[in-house]
Structure formats: C-alpha cells, structure tokens
C-alpha cells in the first residue's frame, strides 16, 4: 500500500494557488514529497536552523501550538451531548501543515491524527482548491472510510488557516459518534456486509462557510439519525475546537512572524522524524520480527446477520523489520482477501492503528507528530482485508481486525525493547474490544440508537515489570475510561445489576494481564431494545502472552435471559445475579428463572424488552513470564480482590491457597506451593518432545486435513491470494507446492 500520496488527480496545475510560494496545494504537496524523497529530510530540512539559533524561542512556539490543541479539545468536550466525547474522551484535535502533515496533536483518540492527514491530502489530490474551493471559514467534514477514516462513526472536520490569501495550515478534529444511522442503532454495524448498511456517510463535503455550519447539513443529520443530538453537538464541538485553534495559530503567527512560523512547523516535524529514528536506535535491536494473530467471527444462523457474512477466521500476520538506521517497515503480507463483513480495514484505518501504536510506544515525548510517520513504512497487500481497494467494502467494525493487528505490533516492539534490555517498556497492551450497541425505544418513549462505550477501559496485556492495567486501557485511546453508570443509564434503557471485575479474566503470567470486567444489564422501561454486540474475536486467540505468559480470554459470548421471574424473586427478597459466578453454572442461569441462553460471538438475536437480562464480558490481554514464577503473595492478593479464583490459582499459578474464614483473607501454603510448582516443572519435562518430533506430528495432521473448517478456509483463502506467504508456509511444513486443504 502506498501511504504517502496516491496520484489520482492530473498533473499538478501550473496556475497560482493558495499554497506556499503561490503554488497550488497539489503542487506544494508533490514538491514536499519530492524534497523528502531527494533529501531524506522532511520538507528538505537538513538542519534544524531555528532550533539551533534560538532554542527557547523555537520551543516556546511548539509549546504554544500544542497547548492550543490540547485546550481546544478540553473546551470542546463540554459542548458535547455524547458520553463518548464527554465521559470517555473520544475526540482529538490536531494542527497540520498546508500539505496536511501533523505538527502538534492533543491527547485522546490519536488514532485519528493520521486519518485527518490523509483526509486533507485526499482533498488536495482531488484539487478541492478549484472545486468546491477552499476559503477562510470553510469547514470540510468526512466520515467516509475510503476518503480517509477508520469507520463511519468517526466524524472528522477540518478547517483551513489562511494568512491573507495564503493557506498556511489546517486544523482538524475528530469525534467518535455513538450513533451514525445504519441497519440498527449504533456505530459499528456488525450486520452489514457492504458499505451501504453502515449508516450516514459524509464524503469530504464542505459543510460550513464563514464559520457557520450549513443548516442543510444538520437537516441531513436530523433526518438520517435516530439520536441526532449527539451528531449535531459533536459537530459543533469539533468545529468550535477547529476555530479556536485557528485563531490561536493566527495569534502566534502575528507574534512570531509568518516566515518563522512556516519554517518552524516543518522543523518541528523533521525533529519528530529524527527523534523517532534516534529512539528506535536506542531502544530496539535491528532485525526481522514476526508474529501472527487471529480474529474469529460467527455470523451463520443468527437472526440479525447479513446473509452474505460467513463464519470466518481472519489471519493477521505481521512482519516488522528495523534497519540499522532505526527505520521500521511493517508488512501484512499473508493477510487474506477482503471480506463480506464489516471487519475490513481501509488504508486510513491501518494508518491510524500504526500511528497510535508508534505514539504510545516510541514517540510519546518531545515532538509528537507526523515526523515518526516519515521514518516508517507500512505494506498492506492490495485486495486484502487490510487494503481492500474497493470503496464498497464494509469497514464499520474495522477495529476487530486492527486491534489484533496492532496488538501484534505492540508485542513485537516489546520483544525488541526486551532484546535491548528495556524490560520496563514491554507492554502487551491492546486486544479486541467488544462493544454493546443497538437501538429501539428508550426509557423516554423515543426512538434511539447508541453505543455503550464503557468498553474504552478494558484490561490491558501485562507489562515486563508489573501486571497490566486493570479495567483501564484500550488501544485506540491511551486516555482510557469507562465513564459513570449514572450517565450510561441516562441515555440507554438499561438498569445495571452489576459492573464488576470478571474473575479469572487476565491472561496468566509472572505478571498477569490487567483484569477486565463484565456488565449485567436488566433491560428497563422499554418495549423494544435491539441489542447488538460487535468487535469480538470468537473461538480463537486475538492476542498472546510473552516469555511464557498465557493469552487473554478467547471465547467471547453473551448470556441472555428472557421472560424472567425477576419481579417475583425481588418480591421474595431472593438473591439476584450480579456477576458471572461459576462459569459452568452462571448466576444468571441459577438466580433467575427465564429463557436462558449462551450466545457465542456477536449478539445478533431477537430484540429484548423490559425485564430481560443481558450479560456482557469485556476483553483483556496476555501475561508476561511463566505463571508458576508469579509471586504467591500477588496471587493471594488477587484472590482477596476477587480477580482470581482458588481453582485457577492452583491449576495455572500452582499456588496452594485457601480462604481463611476467621481472618477473612486468603492464605497461601508456601510449602505446598513449592511442591506444586516442582511437580509442574517435572510434568512439563515429561510431556516435552523434541521440536522436530512435534513438527512432524503437526505436519501429519496438516496432511490429514485435520483442522476446523474455518481454519482450512482461512488458509485456502491465503493460498490463493498471497504467493509469497503460501510458498513460505508450504516450505516450512514441507508440503507439496500445490497443497490446499480439502474443506
């Protein structure tokens, strides 16, 4: 995949434009990329002249620009109606060069810093400068994934910054909408198999002039959304943030001088590029790293599923190469074909996933901007799920593939940190993020749609020196949060019976993953609530542990109970379900009478209504190090806090513990623990076989075609698609050159 520039317009027009030096923006963009190509430096800047001449002056401009975007985001949050933006911080604001490269960015959903960049460049390449024209006070909006977006709920706005007649930059802002129309209420539209069921799509439109948002734009929103107030106020909030930053930038230009500003913003990016390379050299070991993750999806036979979507496993292979200069290339060769489901990723989504990983792992300090982008390269095979090249593809649940994909990258970068001795930087961060969404009639008697975005704060994978973050991390936004129940119940017809740590959820390890939680909802004051879930990974691991740590939970499911006798039980003051309890006999099946079911994978069932129960489980990642090396005291503490069960303490951590009823604490039997652990080591020794022997056995299994249907289909799909990957696979397993699986 080409990430820099996709030449779709004619040769750059030679008329006078609004870009730098009187060039058109297209000519300026091409010129800029040529400079990068020729000199290896961003904008051809080989010396950081302004920084060298007066470090403080230069730094002060950077600080001023950054505080402008950070503060604009904070202020705009308070305009929003959406708990997505207001409660859990689903927005970002950033400043760009005239060519659309980011200079400074706020915190928040940083995944979108580069999608905005691509959006600006998309308009430049299509000569928006001539038609529809670009003027001071214009705002361009987009949520079209194939213009540049992850998926339609991410609504982006950009406004140009003009100094006189010259366009000197852009400001962009993105907010994640809780409802964007579509087949059912919500945002991620897991039932859709093509672009068309994803909801209201705005494709790079001019929606405001003279700082006034067009009324017809809001009319469209009001006619096409179930709960338009989120969209309207988020749009106002984002545009307000853009205008705010634009004015701050113009004040800074006034003070620092135009020429200074124009040079400085490019030095800031070049400095970001250099710092990235320098950090890579310091923190990582050059070489080739490989990983694979998978995501599984179950659609078949579900009442709400698209007839086009099949059960499938998505293969997410990844190769990362770091050269001696610190330049990183990542390659998704071996990814399967684009799919008839919403788990495809448009190019912007891949950009976003890459950017948010780099900023969290390498480029969090100093000049955080597109500089790192120019010191990296990403290859996504055309026609694959990660570069479909087909605007009709559905991408509304792109995160379901992005997170395993970039979780792999986090893991590989972590390996590289470890190889260099920076164990404290090791972080097996992100995993898939199941989301509850849907629509129907709310508790106020109105039609509604929306997501419950409490998922933005799951467990993280483990760290190299400590456990992962409990209930406090999500890959797409390092400022993770789940918000207050009192706010979610305000916008959705639900009554929480519990939101508690999901026992035994963390991937085990010497340092375990962060604990995650489950939510048990009573559907409340509604005759109709069509709950749908999305962004699962079913039946396969979407993450892994490291250095002997186990992966996080794999089987994603929901519990549902309809036509319950809850009211009678309440009247009799009987205990109600709040947590999962024993997974073999969950509380929701024993403490309440009703039509109980376990649903594997996405929830695409009949709608629910008042009194029904729905239980949902969030995700968490893998552990670090061998679980039998975990400090027994840490296991004991987890037992006390309900994070672990005695059963798992014994079977996985090999810690002999019991509950001391008198002390009301768990106690560890140290001697018994030592014995259990010694036995475990012996048992492992007995089970171990030479690798060649194990491989020979596995090869026989392959030759017998003894794999699950979905697994074989996944491989066959790639065999017919990626020659390089197929060759390596067949060579590795010594299979015939034309080997395919019989399904």
């Amino acid at each position: 995949m080409e990430k820099a520039i996709q030449t779709t317009a004619e040769a750059a027009p030679e008329r006078r434009g609004c870009g730098p030096e009187g060039r058109t923006l297209l000519a300026a963009l091409r010129h800029d990329r040529e400079l990068l190509e020729q000199t290896g430096h961003y904008h051809g800047i080989s010396d950081l002249r302004l920084k060298a001449e007066n470090y403080l002056h230069y730094e002060s401009l950077h600080a001023r620009l950054r505080s402008a975007v950070v503060n604009a985001r904070e202020t705009s949050k308070k305009i929003s109606a959406s708990p997505g933006v207001r409660e859990v911080g689903e927005s970002v604001v950033a400043l760009y060069t005239p060519e659309g490269d980011s200079v400074v960015l706020s915190t928040g959903i940083m995944v979108h810093v580069h999608t905005l960049s691509r959006f600006i460049q998309w308009m430049i390449e299509r000569d928006y400068e001539s038609d529809p024209g670009i003027a001071h006070g214009d705002v361009f909006a987009n949520n079209d994934p194939f213009v540049s977006d992850v998926h339609p709920p991410d609504l982006m706005n950009v406004t140009p910054i003009f100094h006189g007649r010259e366009l000197i930059g852009w400001v962009g802002a993105v907010a994640h909408e809780l409802e964007i129309g579509g087949v059912y209420g919500g945002a991620n539209q897991t039932t859709t198999a093509e672009r068309f069921g994803q909801g209201m799509i705005v494709s790079a439109e001019k929606v405001a002039a003279n700082d006034v948002i067009r009324r017809d734009f809001f009319v469209r929103a009001e006619m096409n959304l179930r709960t338009p107030v989120y969209f309207v106020l988020d749009e106002k909030a984002m545009v307000s943030a853009c205008i705010d930053v634009r004015e701050k930038v113009l004040e800074a230009v006034e003070q620092y001088g135009l020429d200074y500003y124009k040079r400085a913003i490019r030095e800031i990016i070049e400095e970001g590029r250099r710092a990235h390379l320098q950090r890579m050299k310091m923190l990582t070991v050059p070489g080739r790293y490989r990983s694979v993750a998978h995501a599984g999806h179950l659609f078949e036979g579900k009442v709400g599923a698209s007839p086009l979507s099949r059960n499938c496993i998505v293969q997410v292979p990844l190769e990362m190469t770091i050269d001696r200069g610190g330049f990183m290339t990542i390659d998704y060769e071996g990814a399967g074909r684009k799919m008839w489901n919403p788990y495809n990723c448009p190019p912007a989504a891949m950009d976003g996933g890459f950017f948010v990983t780099l900023t969290q792992f390498i480029d969090f300090d100093g000049k955080v901007n597109d500089g790192c982008w120019f010191a990296t390269r990403m290859i996504c095979p055309p026609g694959s799920w990660c570069n479909p090249g087909d605007d009709m593809t559905a991408t509304s649940s792109a995160w379901g593939s992005l997170m395993p994909g970039f979780g792999s990258l986090q893991r590989m970068i972590s390996r590289s940190f470890l190889a260099r001795g920076f164990r404290e930087e090791v972080f097996l961060g992100q995993v898939n993020t199941p989301i509850i969404e849907g629509g129907g009639i709310n508790q106020y008697g109105q039609r509604f749609g929306g997501q419950n975005l409490e998922c933005s704060s799951e467990g993280s994978g483990a760290r190299g020196i400590m456990d992962g973050i409990d209930c406090g991390y999500v890959g797409w936004n390092p400022e993770s949060d789940m918000g207050n129940v009192e706010i979610w119940e305000m916008i959705l017809p639900i009554l929480y019976l519990g939101r508690r740590i999901w026992r035994d959820s963390p991937g085990a390890g010497k340092y375990r993953a962060g604990a995650t939680y489950s939510t048990l909802l009573m559907i409340h004051k509604t005759p109709l609530y069509n709950i749908v879930s999305t962004i699962h990974s079913d039946k396969v691991f979407d993450n892994q542990g490291m250095c002997g740590g186990y992966p996080g939970p794999t089987a994603k499911f929901e519990y549902v109970s309809r036509d319950t006798d809850l009211a009678e039980r309440i009247a009799r003051r009987e205990p109600l379900p709040h947590v999962e309890g024993d997974p073999r006999r969950p509380d929701i099946s024993t403490r309440v009478g009703g039509d109980f079911r376990v649903v594997d994978g996405v929830f695409l069932e009949r709608p629910l209504r008042s009194g029904d129960l729905f239980q949902f489980f969030y995700n968490t990642g893998g552990g670090y190090g061998d679980p039998i090396e975990r400090d027994p005291e840490a296991v004991r503490r987890d037992l006390d806090n309900g994070i672990q069960s005695i059963e798992i303490a014994e079977s996985v951590y090999r810690v002999a513990a019991r509950f001391d009823a008198a002390a009301k604490r768990h106690a560890v039997d140290e001697q018994a623990t030592r014995k259990l652990r010694a036995e475990c080591r012996e048992e492992r020794g007995r089970r171990a076989v030479p690798t060649r022997q194990w491989m020979a056995r596995q090869r026989e299994r392959l030759l017998r075609h003894d794999l699950g249907r979905e697994v074989k289909e996944m491989y066959n799909d790639v065999f017919g698609f990626s020659e390089r990957w197929s060759r390596e696979y067949r060579e590795f397993w010594s299979l015939p050159d034309d080997f395919v699986f019989t399904v």
Binding site: V212, L233, I469, D470, C471, S480
Partner: protein, 711 residues
C-alpha cells in the same frame, strides 16, 4: 510601639508555612517557616513567631489579642497520598463492589504529563482507600428517574453492618446509585447501621457517611470518592486542626480555629464536610485577590502564585470567581466544586534535569521541598533547582534569604549546575542557568495563556497579580510578551495566600440536583413552572444554610446569598454555572434573563458555532452561595509621596545576569519603599521573604495602596 494583632492567617504549603498577621490599624507582617507534616502545629507556631519577630514581638504577645485565627494546611492531601487514613467500610449497591478497584479508568492517567498520558505503559490506578474485603454490596436499585426499582434488602444491610463492625472499621460509607435523586435507601441503611453500632457497644464512635448527604449530584464515581475521602482522611485532619487549635488556644487564643473551603470561604474546623477543604491553600490567593478587587476596583484579575513546588493560576472576572465542578485531587476524580485553579509542577524548588538521550531539559514536576531543599541550602540536596539558578544569576542575595535565616551557598550551586546541566548540553553555565529560568517562566506563561484561552479571557482587560515566595522574582520573566492591563505584586507576596485566607468570609456552598427543562419554543406557563421550581429549591437551600451557619458561627450576622443555576442545552452532558440576575425567578421573563446570562457566558467560552438554541435548555443542578462577613485586614490608602525613594531604602548594587549579560542592578529594601516611589530597572528589591527583580527597561511603581506595579 505596642501593636494589637487581630487576624492571623496561616497557609501551610508543600514547602513553606506562611503567616500573615494583621493588626488593628490594618498593618501587617509576614512570616515563614518550613512546613512540618508530622505535626503541623510546629511549623504553624514557628512561622507565626517569625512574623511577630519583625514587630519585635513573639508568639506569646500574639494570641490573646486575636479575633480570628485560620489555618489551611496539607494534612488531608498528605493523609491521602501516604494512605494513612482510617479503616473504612463501604456498603454499596450490589454489583458495584469492585468500583474501588476499577475506579474510573481515567484515574490511572489523570494528572500525568502530556507524554505519560500517551505513554500508556506508565499508567497505574491510585491504590484504593478502602480494603476490598470491607466493601459489602447490598441488593437495591434506584433508576434514572429516582424510582426504587429494586427495594433495599434490609437483611443484607444488617449482615454487612455486623461484619464491618466485627472487622473493626472506624467509619462506614453508604453509597448507592442515584441516591442523589432518591436518598431513601441510603437513609434507611443509615438507620439500620445506627442500630447495629449501638448494639455493638461501640457507641457513637463509628461515624456513618452517606453519598447523598455529602455530595448529592450525578456521577457515582465522583460521589463515592468524595464520601470515601471524607471518611478516610478527615479524621487525621481534624486531629491536626485540633492540635493547632489547642496550641493557639493554650497560648491565649479565645475562639475556634477556622479553615478554608476549596470554593473559597471559611468554615469552623468542625464543619461536617471537611473534605471540601482538600485544596484550600492555593484558594487563599484567589480570595485575597477578590478582596483587593473589591477594595481597589480592579475587577478583572488573573492571579498567579509561584511557590516552591507549583505554579497556580486562577481568574476573577467582573469580581466573580469561577468554580470547577469536577476537579481531580490526589488522583481521584471528584464532583466537588472547587475554585478553578490550574497548576503546573514548576516552582522555585523544581528539579532541573537533562534527558541523557535527547538532551532535553526537564523542569519539575518533582521538587526539593523544604528538606533537603535546593543544592545551595547545603542541607544535602544534590539536584539542581530553579532557586540554585536564581542564586547563580545574582537575583537572590545569599545572605538575605528568609531574612538571612537560610544562608545560600553559591559555589555549591554553581558546581552542581555545571555538572548536572550546562556541561551536559554544552553551554556556558550562566547562559545555561538563564535559559533554564526563562524556560520555567515560559512554561508558566504558557499556562497563563492556556487558562486565559480556556476561559475565553481577553488579557488586555485583566490585571495580573503575581505572588508566592518566588513570584516577584520571576514576574517580569513570566509576564513578558503577555499583554495585560497591568502587572501587580505586593510586599506581602510571600504570604499572599495566607493573607487571602484572612480576607475570606464565612461561606458555604450548596448544590441540589433537579430535572428541569425548557424545550425549544416553550410557552410562558411552562417557563413559570420552571421559575417556581427553581425559586422553591433556592428557598429551601437558603433555609438549610441558615440552620447550618447558625450552628457554626457564634456571632449572628446577616447572611448574603448568591443564587446559581447550572444550565445546558438539551442533551448536553456538561453544564455551566450561571449567577442568577435575580434572587428569585417570579416571571417567565426572569427565566429568560437567567438563560440569557448563561448563554452570554457560554458564548464567551465557546465560539459562536457552539450555540444550539434549537435544542432548548435543561437545568440539572441548582446552587447557592451563603456568606457571612467577618473581620478582615484593613489595607489603607495613603497619599502618594515623591518618586524618589528614601535614601535609607537603597542598599547598594549587585550584578545580575539578564538576557545574556551581566549588569549592575540597584538594590533596595522593599519594606522601606513608600507610595509614589518609582525605581527604574535594572533593580532588585529585597524583602526578607521575597525578591522582586526589575529588569532593564522596566520599572516598578508603588501605588497609593503600597502595591507594586511592574511597568
């Protein structure tokens, strides 16, 4: 001359404890001593004695005469940070027992620097204030309409009470979802607990706190934090406050000790919601500024407080102090209205460090505190601080720091600065020291800008007040390039927060959740209904305020009320607090006027595209400020004298390094300057507790209030 001190204000900061004493003529003196976290009364008495020493007196002559002694300290924050509070039990809605561990995800990063907020591997939850095994869930649920969907299972409360009491908890919090809308379950639980506590023969020694009592507003996590902090950290604070009170009363002070609320205002140390005093210190400065605002007629003010550990900023617009409804304190998110202060971790004691890879200079957020202090204190501090740079650059007098009580070692500072910083980045030591100081000042300046911009202020309409021990020294630096109506500092700058505390009135703040709506195009009867509802709540709150204040304040004075409404557009999740133009809403037009006042404020903060009249308006919270006046320091206006200062005020010259060159600065004694005096830079004006630097091209003028304008 015998003086009669009337008011004593003490502010115990992270590094120093500042004292401000006012006598019957409105004259005042300031004192300073190191903060003593183990027993704050020690620092209190030392600081007060220091102040009195300038009046040739001592602590003993002070206390019997005093009418008001008030104290704001750091005990509560310290108790929280060091987790040395009480053993607390929690009874909460069943299914939410893990909230104390899960927190809100945001608490794992909030308060972090920009870099660390992104660098997720650094994120860690604050440890819980309550042991998970002391959390008991009881079955009950109230919904978003305030309706009890699941009744309280009273037998579960009884069982939880028995168990908690058997476990020996020292306080119990009851916290249920939506209790702010319907507190019946919490109240019933309290009754059950009271019976259990009585039965347990522990008498009344296990206090019970209800979320709905302490903070009856939406967002359960913030409400829980407030209740837990009250239960966990307030007892040690009361102990400290009582210790201080005993210390002053044993020396002859005749009244109860007062302390300062986060939203301004004083309360008796027996106030029932003492967690509201959590960040009282910086708030003192804003109150002081507000007082001076009323006195001088300067009603748009940006206050800046540069102390040892932090730089705090607040604002006053048209005499009004804005309040932050959801601050984060000690890493806990609260919905405690707090005078909106922003701060950055940069002060005179901030450590200066150089990143070994990027060579980036980092200032703070860690600081040296009073022990070991900067390198130049020679008390074992090894890391360079801003104070060390100030000394090297000639701004500070090594023999007159704290009036000479703390000698400063210039050689020590110089050596450390070279080794740790300037040789690392390859610059001259003086140029490097100045660059660092300017960098810190720039960070402070950016923070001021950020506040001005976030609150929509036009700085040319504002006067900047600069204070704190290190404020006057860096004032010229951190205001450079900012366009203010004026820049002002004070000879009592070092104790300005303590001064501020002495100017405060008794003030309590009340809030109540409501559900009122003004749909688009709603008619007069609908507005009238809203008017009646609003007025009714305000009346009820005023009644409650009268009752509560009568219990606290011995002298009955008139209570002044300010009515507040938190308004939002229909559907918004944040509101903005507007002061009602009228004490009661009686007509539809009154409602329109209230909305207009709110929309005016909203439009100042946000750009005009953010307006959304089409969505109608909602009011989810009403508020009330109730205040009673008390004795205050008198600041006397004096006739302006000659521009030329008295000869005795001139102390000589000293070289200072400014903008890359050494220049001789004239040296002055601040206490000896008089109204009308004018000193041109380069000059250094010294005070035992602070130093004012006047660079070349600037001058300082003393006005009729004896305040110092930097022009």
């Amino acid at each position: 001359m015998a003086r009669k001190p009337l008011v004593l204000g003490i502010d115990a900061g992270g590094t120093m404890t500042d004292t401000f004493v006012v006598d019957e003529n409105g004259d005042f003196t300031v004192g300073k001593a190191a903060t003593t976290p183990h027993d704050e009364s020690v620092g209190f008495l030392e600081s007060a004695a220091d102040a009195m020493s300038y009046w040739d007196g001592d602590g003993r002559s002070l206390y019997p005469e005093l009418e008001v002694a008030l104290y704001s300290g750091t005990t509560m924050v310290n108790t929280l940070i060091t987790r040395r509070g009480r053993k607390v039990g929690l009874i909460t809605t069943k299914g939410f027992e893990d909230d104390v561990l899960m927190g809100r995800g945001m608490q794992s990063w909030t308060g972090y620097s920009y870099s660390d907020r992104i660098h997720a591997v650094t994120h860690v939850h604050p440890s819980a204030l309550v042991d998970r095994r002391h959390v008991h869930g009881v079955t009950e649920r109230v919904d978003v309409f305030g309706e009890a969907v699941i009744p309280l299972y009273e037998h579960e409360v009884e069982a939880a009470a028995e168990e908690l009491l058997a476990d020996g908890v020292e306080a119990i919090v009851v916290h249920f979802l939506y209790s702010y809308l319907n507190p019946e379950h919490e109240q019933r639980a309290r009754a059950i607990l009271a019976a259990a506590i009585a039965r347990s023969r522990r008498g009344g020694d296990v206090p019970v706190y209800l979320g709905s009592d302490l903070r009856p507003v939406i967002r359960e996590n913030s409400r829980l934090n407030a209740a837990l902090i009250e239960a966990y950290a307030v007892a040690p604070v009361r102990t400290q406050l009582e210790k201080v009170e005993r210390a002053v009363q044993s020396r002859g002070y005749r009244y109860p000790l007062q302390t300062v609320l986060a939203y301004g205002g004083l309360c008796n140390i027996r106030y029932p919601r003492l967690h509201e005093t959590l960040i009282s210190g910086p708030v003192g400065g804003v109150m002081g500024a507000k007082h001076l605002s009323a006195l001088t007629g300067i009603d748009n003010i940006i206050v800046t407080d540069l102390g040892g550990t932090s730089f705090d900023i607040g604002t006053i617009t048209a005499g009004y102090v804005p309040v932050e409804p959801e601050p984060v304190l000690a890493r806990f998110k609260l919905n405690l209205p707090t005078i909106a202060m922003e701060n950055i971790g940069a002060g005179a004691g901030s450590y200066v460090k150089v990143d070994p890879v990027t060579k980036k200079v980092q200032i703070g957020p860690e600081s040296a505190g009073s022990t070991p202090g900067p390198v130049s204190f020679g008390k074992g501090g090894t890391t360079v601080t801003i104070t060390d740079c100030d000394l090297v650059l000639g701004y500070l007098n090594p023999d007159y720091f704290l009036g000479g009580k703390q000698k400063l070692d210039k050689e020590l500072a110089l050596r450390a600065l070279k080794e740790q910083v300037t040789e690392q980045i390859g610059v001259d030591v003086y140029a490097g020291a100045e660059a660092i100081v300017r960098m810190m000042e720039r960070e402070a300046r950016d923070a001021i800008r950020a506040v001005a911009s976030a609150r929509g202020l036009d700085t040319t309409q504002y006067t900047l007040f600069g204070y704190g021990g290190a404020g006057p020294l860096h004032l010229a630096g951190y205001t450079e390039g900012l366009d203010f109506g004026g820049v002002l500092t004070f000879h009592f700058a070092a104790a300005f927060s303590a001064f501020g505390c002495t100017t405060a009135d008794y003030q309590h703040r009340y809030a109540r959740s409501v559900h009122l709506g003004l749909p688009p195009g709603c008619d007069a009867p609908a507005k009238l209904a809203v008017a009646e509802a609003v007025s009714r709540v305000w009346s009820e709150m005023e009644e409650a305020a009268r009752a509560e204040m009568a219990n606290e304040i011995a002298v009955a004075r008139e209570i002044r009320f300010t009515q507040l409404a938190m308004v939002r557009y229909g559907g918004q999740l944040s509101d903005l607090e507007a002061v009602s133009p009228a004490p009661r809403l009686r007509t539809a037009a009154d409602v329109d006027r209230l909305i207009a006042a709110w929309e005016d404020l909203y439009s100042k903060i946000n750009s005009r595209v953010a307006r959304y009249e089409g969505a109608g308006y909602q009011i989810f919270e009403l508020g009330l400020l109730a205040s009673v006046e008390k004795v205050k320091p008198r600041i006397v206006r004096q006739p302006l004298g000659p521009a030329e200062p008295a000869r005795a005020a001139h102390k000589g010259t000293r070289n200072m390094y400014w903008k890359g060159r050494w220049q001789p600065a004239s040296l002055w004694e601040m206490e000896m300057l008089r109204p009308g005096n004018r000193i041109a830079g380069p000059a250094i004006v010294e005070h035992p507790a602070t130093t004012l630097v006047v660079p070349d091209g600037k001058c300082v003028e003393v006005d009729e209030w004896n305040f110092f304008w930097l022009r």
